[in-house]
């Protein structure tokens, strides 16, 4: 039973995890992209369409990433090179994505999807309990695990990560040192878009293999909240995503057991839990300030 619940939790947490990791990198570079939901839904529809037309789940996932990157490049061009307002541009990106995806997806409504196959990792998947939970998943779950390791390593253990964080903390100094602030930020935005697209692709290829309009149903916003929740630390994103997924799934189990707590209260539990942890974390103000990118949301216009 516990094993079954954990399996469901991982599926529920993976799209949040992937999207939030991408957004974390974007925000670490000092850009706030509120268009995660829009990029996710585009990833979902394009991924579904590609998988459906080619018959290959891998191509579907790649197409989802590409769709996210395309959306992000539009955002990046506007906010970085034309210095438009990041909040407004991000919101429009979400609206654009929701509308555009509906148009693209029209032909795919009511068409059953292609579910990504389960990929058992040899040897590891034979370990009792841990094996079935962590090593008998679809490929994208492993991608999510790998992304966590990759993002943590690159951000805090490499020169590239140092530059990225410098740009996010003080773009003036980074510029004076000769780093191209806009290029670093643009690449970060593209990475974030790719992740959001992949997260969307996970929804339409693995979680619920189908396309319906608005199927991400606000998960992009939850991913955004998770980044703040994690105080911009990748490992905490993992914790947040799994906490959110776990509380969501457990409320359904509680209801099915018939414990008699009003379902409206149970439905709000994941959000309440998130807020509670957020309060506890932000109690340590100094730690929060250390990790918050100081230039988050501030436009940078190089004076030439």
């Amino acid at each position: 039973m516990f094993e079954a619940i954990l399996l469901t939790v991982i599926t529920a947490a993976t799209p949040l995890l992937i999207a939030a990791l991408g957004e974390l990198v974007v925000e670490r570079s000092g850009v706030l992209n509120l268009g995660v939901e829009g990029m996710m839904i585009m990833g979902a529809v394009v991924g579904f369409a590609a998988a459906n037309l080619t018959g290959s789940g891998t191509l579907g996932a790649l197409a989802a990433v590409l769709a996210g990157v395309c959306m992000a490049s539009l955002f990046g061009f506007l906010v970085l090179y034309l210095a438009t307002n990041q909040v407004a541009t991000g919101l429009s990106l979400t609206i654009l994505g929701l509308g555009l995806s509906g148009m693209i997806g029209e032909a795919f409504i009511g068409v059953p999807g292609l579910k990504l196959p389960r990929l058992d990792i040899p040897l590891l998947s034979d370990i009792p309990f841990i094996g079935p939970v962590f090593f008998q998943q679809d490929a994208l779950v492993y991608v999510a695990f790998a992304l966590v390791a990759l993002v943590s390593y690159v951000l805090f253990r490499t020169r590239m990560g140092l530059i990225l964080r410098a740009v996010g903390d003080n773009h003036g100094s980074a510029h004076a040192l000769g780093y191209s602030v806009l290029r670093v930020r643009f690449l970060a935005v593209l990475f974030g878009g790719g992740c959001a697209g992949l997260a969307g692709g996970y929804m339409s290829l693995a979680y619920t293999p189908q396309w319906v309009e608005n199927m991400t149903a606000g998960r992009g916003w939850i991913a955004l909240a998770l980044v703040v929740f994690s105080s911009w630390l990748p490992l905490r994103v993992v914790g947040g995503a799994y906490l959110f997924g776990a509380v969501t799934v457990l409320t359904f189990h509680a209801q099915a057991q018939g414990i008699g707590i009003p379902s409206q209260f149970l439905s709000s539990l994941p959000y309440l839990a998130t807020i509670l942890v957020l309060v506890v974390i932000s109690a340590n103000r100094r730690l929060t300030l250390v990790n918050t990118p100081a230039c988050l949301g501030k436009p940078f216009v190089p004076d030439r």
């Binding site: 039973m1 079954a4 619940i5 469901t8 599926t11 529920a12 799209p15 509906g102 997806g105 029209e106 409504i109 009511g110 068409v111 059953p112 929804m203 979680y207 619920t208 293999p209 189908q210 396309w211 319906v212 309009e213 608005n214 199927m215 149903a217 998960r219 969501t248 799934v249 359904f252 189990h253 209801q255 099915a256 057991q257 018939g258 008699g260 009003p262 379902s263 409206q264 149970l266 439905s267």
Partner: protein, 354 residues
């Protein structure tokens, strides 16, 4: 400035031309709560709109607004249609009731139709379908087919339509298996495929072998198929998503009603009324029975015929959860009591917060 004037003039001419090109007899407009691509509630309403277009062709002009939130936005959307020259406006969600009433008062020459509500006026009719008739049939099928004797029931919000659905399902199941049990799980959403899938997985993990849903996406059925259990489609025929798992589906068929009412507008015979129809009128349709043995199909068809013939599933004796007899033997519950249902029948293992 000159350019702007030119552009405005051009736009005006263009609009006028577009208007002339669409000189249809009747303009019918729809306000939808979800996207037309939800493959559930709104999708079925839009299928109804398309049936109207197919029936009348050039004689009718249609327009719709999708994903209109229930609230102040709804009033604006409905009013826009009323001003835009719509002859008849269909508002297709319960939450549009008060906005529709308000706008209908302001535009007495425009005809309004509100789905699933209970407030009407001289130029405002209401229409709804007896979905619980279909739910009684699937209850019987569930009672026959379930090995564990437990069904999972994924629901949206505790409104009368949903509650009467659960009750009808239980009454149906109890005719076959008096000890039948149902686990009710509230997703508190009409449409969130991933959340519905989570709820379905939780139910499957707890050992149900029949999946019933009163939410709109195909996700629960997909989960049922994955887990090797069975279920029923909601609003539209979802067999493509679960060819091995769907027993049948309760289909909302709005087309015949829309065609009938628009024809009345054309002929000038439209009058306000409160329509509540079901299997008999073809507004609720059962999808083909699949994955079932012949005797169960025969039983389902027999019940379908009985209900089409005028029999009401909410016919006594019916007991409430406390075991009190609320409907006497042979007495049929009134329409109003079904449309306002806020209590469970005996055997439902869930509590309603009041």
């Amino acid at each position: 400035m000159k350019n702007l004037l030119k552009a405005t003039a051009a736009a005006a001419v263009f609009t006028a031309m577009a208007g002339a090109a669409h000189a249809a007899d009747v303009k019918a407009c729809w306000v939808y709560v979800g996207p037309v691509g939800d493959f559930g509630w709104t999708y079925q309403h839009d299928q109804g709109r398309q049936a109207v277009v197919a029936e009348f062709g050039d004689k009718v002009e249609t327009a719709f607004l999708e994903s209109v939130p229930e609230g102040p936005d709804a009033e604006r959307a409905i009013e826009r249609f009323a001003r835009d020259g719509c002859d008849i406006v269909f508002t297709t969600s319960f939450g549009y009731m008060n906005p529709t009433v308000k706008v209908a008062k302001k535009y007495p020459d425009v005809k309004f139709e509100h789905a699933t509500g209970y407030k009407s006026a001289d130029n405002l009719a209401t229409y709804n379908s007896k979905f619980h008739e279909g739910r009684y049939i699937i209850g019987q099928i569930a009672g026959k087919m379930s090995k564990t004797g437990v069904a999972g029931y994924i629901t949206s919000f505790p409104i009368p339509e949903v509650i009467s659905g659960i009750n009808a399902f239980m009454l149906g199941a109890q005719t076959v298996n008096p000890d039948f049990k149902v686990k009710v799980v509230w997703a508190n959403t009409w449409f969130d495929p991933a959340k519905e899938a989570d709820a379905a997985k939780a139910l499957a993990d707890q050992g149900v072998d029949i999946m019933v849903q009163h939410t709109d996406s195909t996700a629960p059925l997909q989960v049922a198929q994955e887990r090797g259990i069975h279920g029923f489609g909601q609003a539209s025929d979802m067999i493509a998503f679960a060819p091995k798992s769907q027993y049948t589906a309760i289909i909302d068929e709005w087309g015949p009603y829309y065609i009938e009412r628009i024809k009345e507008v054309m002929e000038g015979t439209w009058e306000t009324k409160q329509t509540w129809s079901g299997l008999a009128e073809g507004h609720v349709v059962m999808a083909p029975y699949t994955n079932l043995p012949d005797d169960v199909v025969a039983m389902a068809k027999e019940t379908e015929a009985k209900i089409s013939g005028g029999w009401e599933p909410f016919t006594g004796p019916i007991f409430n959860q406390e075991g009190e007899k609320v409907v006497e033997d042979g007495v049929t519950l009134e329409d109003g009591a079904i449309l306002g249902m806020d209590w469970y029948v005996q055997g439902v293992d869930d509590k309603l917060s009041k």
